[in-house]
């Protein structure tokens, strides 16, 4: 690859999409990998946050403040999701589905099907563009900085006593409680953090595309999980630090692959979700196949040792 083609790639939608979905996948990473919950609420929370951020901007709010408010609202929805499990003893998978379904209504009502940004209003991206006058670069710069900040924030938080206790609660509740950790409060905290990341990615997505459909989150959980799994296939999960980077790598590689597929001449984009489904299956199965191969090898080596 020469510099020309790299620049050409950076000019397409793929890197910005990749970065937004990386933020989304980091949220999924918290719920799925740290708390062990497949949280389906993200399917509705993603467009909901995009709608929030566009509505705020349309009503005259500063686009950065609009994103911050969307994050706060997302965090509250995450807390409600967690509370359904902790206080009402609803299965975590079901509580996610409840939030997902419940958010359909505000999504349709508030967006009236498809919400469009007022052409007179600035977004966080066009705002920066007025300063540096390069829209593609503005988008990449803002998203790149946000992803780097998030990685630092997560690296720091999950390395603290509090963050470690949150990870422990997700991995082994009995052990965590025996060590004096309030596993209920950690679960609520984790669900709120996860939802805040989803909300951030949704709010950014809305401002980047400048319009949002009520059903824009369909299949988003699959994208999030695929990115998490793809990163793990590429880098393995040797340490927590590495798994954060693997999500970022997974996000970028995933959108690179999607980008290549879309650019195939004559490709019908309606097949994209089917392809994503096949892709995630392959990515999930690879580690299992690896395990099978190593397990088949093991007995042979022990018999050799015994001789």
């Amino acid at each position: 690859m020469n510099w020309g083609s790299i620049l050409q790639f950076l000019g397409t939608d793929a890197p910005t999409q990749g970065l937004i979905w990386t933020i989304f996948a980091l949220g999924v990473f918290i719920s799925y990998r740290i708390l062990n919950v497949a949280d389906l609420s993200v399917e509705s929370l993603f467009p909901f946050s995009a709608i929030m951020s566009l509505l705020f901007v349309n009503n005259g709010m500063n686009p950065i403040l609009a994103i911050l408010f969307a994050i706060i609202i997302g965090g509250i929805i995450g807390l409600v999701n967690g509370a359904l499990h902790i206080y009402l003893k609803i299965n975590p998978l079901l509580s996610g589905i409840i939030i997902m379904v419940a958010l359909y209504s505000p999504n349709v009502i508030l967006s009236k099907g498809n919400l469009v940004l007022d052409s007179s209003k600035l977004t966080i991206f066009t705002g920066l563009n007025t300063l540096i006058n390069n829209y593609t670069f503005s988008k990449l710069l803002i998203l790149g900085i946000i992803v780097i900040l998030i990685i630092f924030l997560m690296y720091w938080f999950f390395g603290t006593e509090l963050g470690l206790s949150l990870r422990a609660s997700g991995k082994n509740e009995n052990m965590a409680r025996a060590q004096g950790i309030n596993t209920n409060s950690r679960y609520l905290m984790g669900m709120a953090f996860s939802a805040m990341f989803i909300a951030l990615s949704g709010a950014l997505y809305g401002q980047m595309t400048k319009h949002i459909a009520a059903d824009a989150g369909k299949g988003s959980i699959v994208i999030g999980l695929t990115i998490v799994f793809l990163g793990e296939v590429l880098l393995g999960h040797r340490s927590f630090k590495l798994s954060l980077f693997s999500v970022v790598l997974g996000g970028i590689i995933f959108w690179l692959i999607i980008d290549i597929i879309i650019q195939i001449p004559g490709f019908n984009t309606n097949y994209l979700n089917l392809l994503k489904g096949i892709f995630i299956t392959i990515v999930v199965v690879i580690p299992e196949i690896k395990k099978l191969i190593t397990n088949n090898k093991k007995p042979k080596t022990t018999t050799v040792e015994e001789k």
């Binding site: 390395g159 006593e161 470690l164 990870r167 422990a168 009995n174 052990m175 950790i181 927590f240």
Partner: protein, 265 residues
């Protein structure tokens, strides 16, 4: 001193036509500071339930538990953890496999303390961990970065034991903590347990299925049968007992139980 008064624990069956399962029936027990109690009883006698009620994992149906005069009966498990170190039968329960030795020990090091936003892993803590690991003879000093899952069951259980006492607990609860290990490793861990308990003057309540261990270790032996304490044997008396004596006591108690339940029916 830990005082247990009129402790009862019932489990309701999900099927309402089945009778309520009374696992603990009016258990009264005083654990003195420095006691090393071995707790024996057949399956379903309530040994594990008793430990789970003491630790706060289960809420008692009635009765009270006092730690040094403080009523902890309604104190949540994670709050009570301040006073209690636990080792479970399954090494996978007491530790987290896919994080490092260091991180597991860091979790135990802050047991009962508020966890804040300072770094969980610090070099100065590592010195403390290494100092505590050295007498265990596991060869794990300076290997703190390795994942727990790479360790053997025995090593893992030794780490759990260390985690339970890294912050000195008021009471150490051991629930058949060597039962999942091979005989040789099991013996080694029992020896280690005794050394650590003696050196740190720990008050200990150890469940065991091994009658020999029950007689060999500790200064007191308590026998449970169908949710009642049927024998509380002192060190002097224990020294004279044989394994057969223990079995005889069990048989006698069970006959008595059957007799009394016959009377009630």
């Amino acid at each position: 001193m830990i005082k247990i008064e009129h402790l009862c624990k019932e489990f309701k069956s999900s099927n309402p036509t089945l009778p309520i399962n009374k696992v603990l029936k009016d258990v009264n027990l005083t654990i003195n500071d420095g006691d090393f109690i071995t707790l024996i009883g057949s399956n379903g006698s309530g040994k594990s339930t008793l430990q789970n009620v003491i630790s706060g994992a289960y809420k008692p149906t009635s009765g009270n538990i006092f730690f040094d005069g403080l009523d902890v009966t309604n104190l949540k498990e994670f709050k009570r953890a301040k006073y209690i170190g636990r080792v479970f039968q399954d090494p996978n329960v007491g530790t987290i496999g896919d994080i490092s030795i260091q991180e597991n020990l860091a979790l135990a090091f802050k047991r009962g303390e508020k966890r804040n936003l300072s770094w969980a892993l610090k070099d100065e803590y590592n010195e403390i961990y290494n100092k505590n690991l050295a007498p265990l003879n596991l060869g794990l000093e300076n290997r703190l970065n390795e994942k727990i899952s790479s360790l053997s069951g025995g090593q893992r259980q030794s780490i759990t034991l260390l985690m339970a006492i890294l912050k000195k607990p008021k009471l150490l609860l051991l629930d058949e903590h060597t039962a999942a290990l091979d005989p040789k490793t099991s013996k080694k861990i029992m020896g280690l347990t005794q050394t650590l308990v003696e050196e740190n003057h720990l008050t200990t309540l150890m469940i065991t299925h091994n009658m020999r261990d029950a007689l060999k270790y500790g200064n007191r032996l308590i026998m449970l049968s169908t949710g009642r304490v049927i024998a509380d044997i002192s060190a002097e008396e224990k020294a004279k007992l044989t394994i057969d004596d223990l079995y005889d006591r069990f048989d006698a108690a069970e006959k008595e139980n059957n007799f009394s339940s016959d009377l009630i029916d």
